[in-house]
Symmetry: D2
Subunit: 111 residues, 4 copies
Amino acid sequence: MQTLIAKIDAFVAERNWDRYHAPKNLAMALSVEVAEIVEIFQWMNEDQSRMPDKTTRAHLHDEIGDVLIYLTMLARKLDIDPLEAAHAKLEKNRIKYPAVNASAKFPHGRF
Amino acid sequence: MQTLIAKIDAFVAERNWDRYHAPKNLAMALSVEVAEIVEIFQWMNEDQSRMPDKTTRAHLHDEIGDVLIYLTMLARKLDIDPLEAAHAKLEKNRIKYPAVNASAKFPHGRF
Amino acid sequence: MQTLIAKIDAFVAERNWDRYHAPKNLAMALSVEVAEIVEIFQWMNEDQSRMPDKTTRAHLHDEIGDVLIYLTMLARKLDIDPLEAAHAKLEKNRIKYPAVNASAKFPHGRF
Amino acid sequence: MQTLIAKIDAFVAERNWDRYHAPKNLAMALSVEVAEIVEIFQWMNEDQSRMPDKTTRAHLHDEIGDVLIYLTMLARKLDIDPLEAAHAKLEKNRIKYPAVNASAKFPHGRF
């Protein structure tokens, strides 16, 4: 992750793109990249989405990459470490949705 | 990232949530979390978004965490490493948008 | 639709909200409202989504209302009539995806 | 709106696309179309977004059309009239955010 952050910082600086990178704009760009993933799955059913073919998987690989790039750009601008934020939020979610060791069947909560 | 992946796998298994985690559904959940970030910025202008107050920054910290959690869940289901995908896509973007060493001022490209 | 437009114009004017209503911001707000619809369906399968219960349907009624409100606000700011735009685009889609009278079974196109 | 609904019903029937049109899928498609609007504005600032050039405005005209088409498809599947839903929600919003006749300057509420 640290390497990715360093490469992204260099990438943006080399192209003089920081002026576009207000967090507001990066949030928009991030949502657009995520929509590209949603689009891949929109007419598939859930079972089909569990077994994408080779071309689809390659497309998803690209788009997941773009989403993480933009998420990292956004987090950087806000001086947030995305991995640290994820670990912290997972702990909050763990407390909010305690696992029950008996075979618990409860609906997926809302983080 | 490997630790996050392991923790997420355990979190999902403990709650018997895997059955909800078709990639189609995870893509939807990811888009909903990103929308929570967009919502924070929607009425701010760009300058305001560069300087969020303490409460806003804490809210963003949570949401960035949730976005990375869902992105990681989705990538795992597709046997994709999100960090590796980001590095690979950054290289593709580097080639698609070459940096020009003279003070290049060109519009932000579309990844 | 004309009545809705008039009511929305009055609603915004009465609250002095026009200053927030740059199309950029309205596009963000629209995406956030649509995410609220996505959220309702994210853990359902397709069959469940075809038969929402009474509470869910009422929730969807609200959110569909909000989406049309924001879409209309955005279109107004750009001097676009959303109904006219929809009719025009449906014609373009009709040409792009010709219906074949024999029992055509082809995948859903991308508009 | 009634004409649009009738045309959309015919369009879908002619192409045998109803089988893809579970509300879950239509919600995803709707979010993807909205993202196409977000993408148009993502690197612009607010003032630029208030004055799109001719090409941009034509692009927005198409995308606003697509958003209303998908919103109408989704509403139809749920037996909801989008115009009626918008009118009803505007009344709820009116009560939730009362206008104050003195020159009220208050932040844009969250619908």
